[in-house]
Each structure stands twice: as structure tokens, then as C-alpha cells.
Symmetry: C2
Subunit: 617 residues, 2 copies
């Protein structure tokens, strides 16, 4: 054995701006910027990814710059006494999470209604406490201050809180969230099927769900989904407004009535395409695929047929009053989002985005929580620009993006084409990712499409959170790596996001728990070899030590179904290799395979392997 | 109707460095750097993505700085006569693609053997001509000059050229390539199955294939794969070197004999883990998962048991002589690549990368073509650094990366976790992406896994090429967008990468060719609405005009199989909705659906829809 002595002779260029490397003690090089860390630790969390030069700079304004008439605020440098709001005082002074004090003056008799208004008067609501509990790396005071700044929203309709809603938050200070769309269309699906899809989406990690029903009994479906969901529910109210009438017949009154009805039903956020203006339509004329937002195209038709301005834009303050009363959060829609790479980042999209910034300011003045919806098709290199421009124009309001798809030629695989863009979008500043399923552009997603879409987006959200260095987000990856190093298959599967699928794929070839897998076999398992090198810590973590051979339980019906769906092995074939291997290596319950390195030395193992396994192959 | 007048009033921040936007005429803003364009057009192609500041800078050296003994070269500013090499002259002067002249002095009687050597003496080989033809945006002279600079390789073993090999090139100047791994393992698969997988991988777009067999008849399998492939074949020769012997028995002679044998069999590139040195092993000690490269772990065992240096490193020049004779290209292996996020970009990996740079220089001095292999698990934010550091240390030699995976907790979905990293890697400079299948970490990939892996990586490669603005790469996306805008389903499917799957998903709900799909239904189709807005060009491209209703052919067996694999609809259920819809909208062969907007106005269509379709739902 060579004596492994430590050496330190290596000169390398700096790693550069690298948020997540504060996890990796072994990473060489210095940092151009400090790594992202939790507030209070080595530095203040910046709540954002590094900016490439030439990118639009952050707005110097926050929601504090857009208070209602009669309000004023100032950050106090010197200490001041805390006045309890509940005493009805017209002046509130409270301690912010960065230890500065803020004074807020409000009109007499004002009663907060939204999470934003509670935050503005310094009150930490039970919902903020729950969010801090769920996020882990934030304090309730930080949650309140992010909400007051407009950078964080808690979509929690007062009526939905009476049912099963578990409050969550959307903003770059929190972990990245994902949304799953569902809803019956006139040609497919039913209310029961949609509620089943809701539960299925929750099972696979959807943080919010949008009911986009355009067919069947819309009210019944919406009420059923709100009452059965633990996650916030979003809708696009214009869909229900035009049932049974021509689009041009849509009146201001119908709009306000429908919004009031859905708000009372407990919907947590509304997508409202108020940013599509008459002045923007000329920018759409030469697009390859015009307007692909349903709400956007309907409102364009309304404006053309009625020669008028977007009614949602004209009645914005009235809409805000309804939103405020029930604390419904805005998801201001991007009706002019591009429908293909060719239309990405064009004048129509960017002109609307500027209007979304104006609507954000107006909503904040009315005390309503706001997030902004973002584009669906964007070439990979344009994603950071899109994220940073939204941050500039909308003063840091959370960005909720659809995908984006980074190529158009893979219909049937758009959960993949889009989760690539979604990862980059979240890393560059998006707060919530709206999933895309394999059925996108082709038909209404089925149950399995919902699962595939959710998983692709959990991957994107988690990869971005790790890259941003959000504290603790990489721990499970490291646990799984240790289980892998120890060749502890049971823990490997437990730590997997989808254990049944992982187990089924593994057992497809080899349903005996050896210290190698069917990919390389015994002699070729680099992980086993690393574990054997006594000097290496690899695979020797006592919590992961693999201590007895286990023959897997026969496949569960679910695992068998997974394999059958793969369709390239007949049920009879599935265990052929596995049982053969099991027989020849002689692994019985609670006994290790004869070739296991804990039972025999590598040489004898190899012997057994060559004699029994290879010959049997 | 409003009169849509064009307006130009919009001030927005610049788009910044944005290679691909020279496609998008509508993109506003100025460029920080010139967009990437084809040589000779608006500017010179830079063959790279934009650099984020603090990233390692490109090496100021190329392969021209590492010529064999007795060679010298100089770029001539003034004109000089061209001397034909075939005359056996010892001095060659030739015109480079940038119009400069280069003089090269070589020893008497020198005979070029590799593509690199031909390029160094100014000769454009038939393989270079074929590559220029396949790439489209490069001239044969540019291909030659990129090869001479060491930035491009053509892996084309002289013996493989006698069979069906269609020459291709790997380098950042060309389109991004993908590799598919296959090979029998001791516990799974056979030669026939591997050849079938080879054809399957070619069918799904693999640009090269690696035979990683470790079981069965290795020679027979390798020969069969070489003789049946139109794409370059790579191997990891150490696998066959240790069959039937202990790793520590591996001698320098056995190494050279095995390489000579595989070179004669026609293998186009060898992965050789010569960069794992004894001095690096201490850096591996504290890793979570040690060494995950099979070749790397075997050589580590060799060094420990024989207390010696890596034999591949010690005999590098002898190995180069074999490579040169048959023109086998090096794929210098990264034996210390990280096996989890926790081990990424650590001292072991970077120390080895520095050694790979030294080996590159030594190989170039021997006239051998070189590419470098890269890491498999890297947090998203560390990818650019990894790509740029390799470019610095290896002087621009093509980077061939595995994934990288950007999270570890999704076994069963690692084709997705890794194609996210692969897209970023290619955008930041990688030239070839080694696919990862859903079976990674779990077992040996089956036929369907090979397809899923190939498609995920075609997505990554194509998305990166579009982002880099490689001329023409976005054309097919735009064609498909136009077909979508025209609601021309036939062309939509034809232009899809996997038409059968796209068609099957579409027909799952609706196998009649209407001008809407089952996702939204007629009234809600934003694309149809955009098409109806007379002022819009959208959907009116005459080449895509949808001119007659077509009832889809009954599902082909392949399409039916795709749906059955999805497993969430019984065969009986599959067409239930579809045929219902077909019936009620009364679409017969060559007739449009009764609700089609070309037959009736939107109102009547809506009427028909409400009366027949919704009621039938």
C-alpha cells in the first residue's frame, strides 16, 4: 500500500461567483461575490443569483414606494418605541428583520385585509409563521418584511383558509415552487377526474394548482377543487365569463360579478390579462404565431370587435377592491407571451411587460398581493435577460413563469424541453415554475402526464435551489450519495423522489440486494472498489453501512405496472435475469450473496463470479 | 375593427450579450458583444458562448504551439507562393480560411497519418470535405484549420473507414454532438442485443456510440458494432485488458497489445484514464463517493497494489504511437470525475484536469487528435466554471461531458436531471454530450431507455445550438411554429423529432383533424382565434395553409404501443372520446369538421360546438 500523504500544491483560477459552493468544503479558489448564505450567518442573503454584466439592474423601488393615499413610511435610524397596532394607533413603529426600525402612518380606522397590509403595519400573521416553519431558512419577521417589500406573496384566500389550505409563500427568498395546471376541456375530462388529478398533483409535489376548466360544470369543478386542496388554487376567471355569450358581449359588470363570485368560492389567485393593450396589437401583427394565451387572444378579440381598451385594464382599481376584500393574490397574466422561439423577447412581449410593471404599482397602492406571469418559449441564452428585465420593471414582484421551452421541435417531450428553461429561469430569479406536461400542444394531460410534468419541474426547482445555495436544500442529495457509496440500496430507494420507479428499474435486472448492480456487475463496480480502498472514507459512513443481504420483496403491483408500461420486456422476461443471478450467487434471505465482498475477498468473489455468473449468462 | 397603426415608442434596457438573437428581427436593444454569426457574414464566428466575468480566460495556445520535434511554423503576413505538399517538399505554405498564410517546416520524408497531421500540412482530406458538407455553416478550409488548432477532431479510424463510417466532427465550431453508451455487462445483455441497440441509437440521433461491454464475448461484440455502425465507435480499452486477470497483473505490454488490437479492429476513439496520478489519490480520501469512474477506480487499485504511477501516464508516448498509426482519437478520461454534487469541482477533479492539459500537449506533439472527458455531477451554477477551466487548461481541445446531473435525488429520471446540465455545458463550451438514460445508477439500459436517453440529449444539443446562434439551427423550430399557427397537424407531426409519439398523444383524445386540439377545444383555441384576426399574419403562411380536413389513419401498431405503454387508458378507452368527437362534429374523409372555421363563421361553429360537442361530453 502506498502511504497516502496530503499535498497542497495546486494553483488554479478562481471559481468565480459560485453561490452553492459554501456547501463544498473542498472547492478551491476564491469567490468574486460572497456565496449565498442564510441571513445572520456569514453574510446577508441576497435573494438572487449573480447578474451577468449588461443585464437590466434591479429596481431601486419596492412595494413601500407604492402605498395607498394617506399613507406614509420612513425607516428610522435611531431607536423609537414600539406602538402596538391593536391599540388602534394611527402610527406604527416596528423592528424589521435587519434590526432597522420602520415607522408607518396610516389613516384612522384602517383595518388590514391582505397579507401585504398586515405586513405593512408590522404584524406577523399565523400564515407568515407557518411559511417560516415550512421554509426553514427564514424567520417569521423576514417573511413579513419580504411580503411588505412586495417580493413575496402568500396566496391564501380568507375563505380557502376555512378549509384545508396549508399556507405557502412564493418569492425568490423562499424555495422555488411549482404549479400544476388541470381542468376539464369541452372535449375531455370530468369534475371527478380533475379532483383525482388534484390529489395526484399534490402527491407528486405541486405547490399550487390552477383549475383551467373550460368545459363541464365550471362552478362545481372549481368549488370541488378548492374544498379538496391543501395547496393554493389559481384560476383564469375570464374562462367562466364567456360561457354562453359572445366575447364582445363581455361587459364590465359581468367581469366584476364573476370575480366576486370566484373570490367568494375561495380561489387564492387570479390570472388576469390586464396588460394586453390596444396599443400592443400592432406589435403582434408580424409574429409567426400571434397570441397563444387564451385570455390574451380573447381580450384581443374583445378590443378589436368593440374598438375599446382592455376592460381589465380600465377597471383595474375596481378589480383590486374585490381582490383586497378576500385577499386574492394577482397573477398578472402575460397575454402576449411568445408561442415559439421566433417570437421570444419581442416588442409585443416587452411592451406588455412594461404595462405589467404599471399594474403592479397600482395593485400595491390598493394593498393587493402581486405576482407576474412570464414567457413560455425562450431560447436558452435569452432567459437571464427575461428574468432580470421583469425584476427591473416589476420592482421585484415574484415572477411565475411557464417553462420556458428552449426548443419547439419535440412535441411529446415538452416536459423536458421546458424544465431545462425552467431551471435556468429559477436560477436567474423566477419564484414559481408552471409545469408543462408531455401532452402540451397535443391534448389534455392525463394522470400520468400530470406525474411526469410534476417530477420534471421538481427537478428544475430543486436544481435551482441547490445552485442558489438555499441552506439545507442539498442535504438530501448528499444523503443519497452516501447511501450510494455504501451500496445501501434500501436507503438509496428511500431517499429517491420516486422510490417505486427507482426500485422497479433496479429490480428489472436484479432483484437480489448485492453490493453491485446490473449496470456493471460485481467486478466492474467502481463504487464497490472505492469502498474497498481502505484509505477512502467513501462508503464507510456508519449510518449507511450496508449490513446484511436482503432479497427484494417480489415486485409490488405498482412496480410491476411501471415495468409493464415500459413495454420492452414481457412480464415473463422481467425476472429471468434477476432470478438467474439470485440462484447462482446463492443469496438467501438474510444471507449475503456468495460473491459479496463482506463474505469473501475480492479474488474469491471474482472466482465465484466468473465460474457461476458469467458462465450462466 | 380598429385600424392597427404601427408605433415605435418603447425604451427598454439592452438585451445584452445574446448570440441567437440575430435570428429574431423583432428583438429590441443593442448587443454588448456582436451576435454569433457565420464566418464571412456580419462578423467572425467566435466559436464560443459569452464569458461571465471572473471565469478562467481562454488559453493563448493552440495545437500549433505543440508540434513534434523538428517541426516549426509561422503565420506569414505577406503573400507567399503555395507549394504543393504532394511534391514532397519540406516546406509547405498554405492559405488559411481567414486569408492569412501559414508556413510549416517538416522533416524530410514525413508522411501524415492522422487528420491532425494532414491539417498541419494544409491538406483538406475527403473526411474534412464531408464534415463541412454535413455541418453546412463551415467551409472545408475552416474544418481543416479548426483541426490544426486542436479545437476540432474527426474520429475516423482508417480501418473503420473501410466499412460504413460516415465521417463527423466534434468541436465547438460544429453543431453539438451526442454519444450513446451501450455494451453487455456480465449480468445482462448479449452481442445481438447490443447491435440492435446500436441501430436503435443511430435511429434516434446518436452521433457516436461507445461500446462499454464488460461481459460476454468482448471481441465479437466490438467487431460487430464497428462493422455495423455508420457513426464513430469509442471504447474504454482497460475493460478488455483485465478480463481473466487480477488488476495488479496488468502490465505495460498487455496495455500496448490490447490497444494495438482494438485499433486494428477499427475503434475510432479510446477513453484512456491516464490523468489519474498517485499524487491525486489523497484528494479523493474525504470524498462522499470516492472514484465512480470504472477505469479510474481500477487504475487507482493498480497504483495502490503495485505502489507505482499510472501505467497509462508512464507509457503515454508509446500509446500515442499506436493511436497515430491508425488515427485513433484520444478521449482522455476523467477518472476522478465527481460521483455526486458534494464531490463536484473539488481538488481531485481539478488536479486531474490539469494533468489532462499536460497529456493534451504531449499527444499533440505526437500528431494525435484529442478530446477531453468531463464531469458527471455538477450543481447548475458551477457548470460554466467547469467548462471554461477545461478550455483554459486544455487549450481548446473539444470537451466531451457526461451529463452533468444537476441533482442526485431523482434516480429513474436521470436522463432529465442530466440533460439540464448538458444544455448549460454545451452552451458554455462543451462539444459532445454523453447521454444518461433513465436506468443510470440502477441497471443496464434497455432499448426504450436508449431512445429516451437519446431524445433528452438531442433536446439539450439542439437547445444549445439555437442559443449559440449556429446558423440554420433554429429553422426547423420556426417551420414547426408556422405549422402550429396554421393548425396544420400533418406538418406539425412531420416536423416533430418523434412524429409517432406526437401523433399518438394527439389522437389519444381526438383522431379527427380539426382546427383545434383536445387541450382547449374549439372555442378556446387561442391559435385559431389569432388566425381569425385578419390583421395578423399568424397562421396565414401559404405553405402551411391547412386546406382540407383529414381523418387520421387508424393508429399504427407503433402508435398504439406508445399509448399502451402509458398505461393509464385501456385500449378500449383510447378512442372513446376521439370517435365521439368525430361523430358529433361530422368530419368525414376529405370533409372539414362541421364546426371548422373555414366552413362556418365563428358563431355558427360555436353553436354547433355547444349543441353537439359539449352536450355529448
Amino acid at each position: 500500500m502506498i502511504n497516502i500523504a496530503h499535498s497542497n500544491s495546486m494553483e488554479l483560477p478562481p471559481l468565480g461567483n459560485n453561490p452553492s459552493t459554501h456547501h463544498a468544503g473542498t472547492t478551491p479558489g476564491s469567490f468574486a461575490n460572497p456565496p449565498r448564505v442564510a441571513p445572520g450567518a456569514e453574510g446577508r442573503w441576497t435573494f438572487s443569483s449573480p447578474d451577468t454584466p449588461n443585464m437590466p439592474q434591479p429596481s431601486d423601488k419596492t412595494a413601500w414606494d407604492f402605498l395607498p393615499d394617506g399613507w406614509s413610511t420612513v425607516e428610522l435610524k435611531e431607536a423609537a418605541e414600539l406602538v402596538d397596532f391593536t391599540s388602534g394607533a394611527m402610527r406604527v413603529v416596528f423592528l424589521q428583520s435587519d434590526d432597522s426600525r420602520r415607522e408607518v402612518r396610516i389613516p384612522a380606522g384602517f383595518e388590514p385585509s391582505t397579507q401585504l397590509e398586515w405586513a405593512r403595519v408590522g404584524v406577523i400573521t399565523p400564515q407568515m409563521v407557518r411559511v417560516a416553519e415550512r421554509e426553514g431558512h427564514l424567520t417569521p419577521a423576514q417573511v413579513r418584511d419580504e411580503i411588505a417589500a412586495g417580493r413575496l406573496v402568500i396566496p391564501a384566500n380568507k375563505h380557502h383558509l376555512k378549509y384545508q389550505l396549508d399556507p405557502m409563500a412564493i418569492g425568490r427568498a423562499t424555495k422555488t415552487k411549482i404549479n400544476a395546471n388541470m381542468g376539464a376541456s369541452p372535449v375531455s375530462s370530468s369534475t371527478d377526474e380533475e379532483v383525482e388529478k388534484l390529489k395526484w398533483a399534490e402527491r407528486w409535489g405541486a405547490d399550487t394548482v390552477m383549475d383551467l376548466s373550460t368545459g363541464g360544470d365550471l362552478n362545481a369543478c372549481r368549488v370541488a377543487i378548492v374544498q379538496n386542496s391543501t395547496v393554493p388554487i389559481g384560476t383564469v376567471p375570464i374562462y367562466s365569463m364567456i360561457i354562453g355569450r359572445k366575447i364582445e358581449e363581455l361587459s364590465h359588470e359581468i367581469i366584476l360579478e364573476s370575480l366576486e363570485q370566484q373570490a367568494q368560492q375561495g380561489v387564492d389567485y387570479f390570472t388576469i390579462h390586464a396588460g394586453v393593450l390596444r396599443e400592443h396589437l400592432p406589435f403582434v401583427v408580424k409574429r409567426l404565431i400571434g397570441i397563444v394565451s387564451r385570455g390574451g387572444s380573447l381580450l384581443a378579440q374583445w378590443m378589436i370587435r368593440n374598438s375599446g381598451q382592455n376592460p381589465m385594464y380600465d377597471r383595474w382599481e375596481d378589480i383590486c377592491d374585490i381582490m383586497r376584500k378576500h385577499d386574492v393574490t394577482f397573477s398578472i397574466g402575460d397575454g402576449l407571451r411568445p408561442g415559439g422561439l421566433a417570437d421570444a423577447t419581442d416588442r409585443a412581449q416587452l411592451a406588455e411587460l412594461a404595462t405589467l410593471g404599471e399594474l403592479t404599482e397600482r395593485a400595491w397602492r390598493k394593498g393587493v398581493q402581486v405576482m407576474i406571469e412570464g414567457p413560455g418559449h425562450v431560447p436558452f441564452d435569452q432567459i437571464e435577460y427575461n428574468m432580470k428585465l421583469q425584476r427591473t420593471l416589476c420592482h421585484g414582484a415574484p415572477f411565475y413563469v411557464l417553462g420556458p421551452l428552449v426548443t419547439d421541435i419535440f412535441p411529446g417531450y415538452d416536459h423536458i424541453t421546458s424544465c431545462i428553461g425552467a431551471t435556468a429561469a429559477a436560477y436567474h430569479g423566477a419564484s414559481m415554475l408552471c409545469y408543462v406536461t408531455p401532452k402540451e400542444h397535443l391534448g389534455l394531460p392525463k394522470k400520468d402526464d400530470v406525474k411526469q410534468g410534476c417530477i420534471a419541474y421538481k427537478i428544475a426547482a430543486h436544481a435551482a435551489d441547490v445552485a442558489l445555495g438555499i441552506p439545507g436544500t442539498r442535504d438530501r442529495d448528499d444523503e443519497l450519495t452516501k447511501a450510494r457509496a455504501a451500496l445501501n440500496w434500501e436507503k438509496h430507494f428511500e431517499l429517491s423522489f420516486d422510490p417505486d420507479t427507482a426500485r422497479a428499474y433496479h429490480d428489472e435486472d436484479l432483484d437480489v440486494d448485492t453490493d453491485f448492480c446490473a449496470m456493471c456487475g460485481h467486478d466492474w463496480c467502481s463504487v464497490r472498489i472505492s469502498k474497498e480502498i481502505v484509505e477512502f472514507a467513501s462508503g464507510k459512513d456508519e449510518n449507511y453501512q450496508w449490513n446484511r443481504a436482503k432479497v427484494s420483496a417480489a415486485l409490488t403491483p405498482e412496480q410491476r405496472e411501471i415495468l409493464e408500461k415500459r413495454g420492452h420486456l414481457s412480464p415473463q422476461e422481467i425476472h429471468q435475469l434477476a432470478s438467474k443471478t439470485k440462484k447462482v450467487v446463492g443469496a438467501n434471505k438474510d444471507a449475503k450473496a456468495a460473491c459479496h465482498s463482506d463474505v469473501v475477498d475480492a479474488e474469491s468473489a471474482k472466482q465465484i463470479h466468473v465460474e457461476r455468473l458469467s458462465s450462466a449468462t
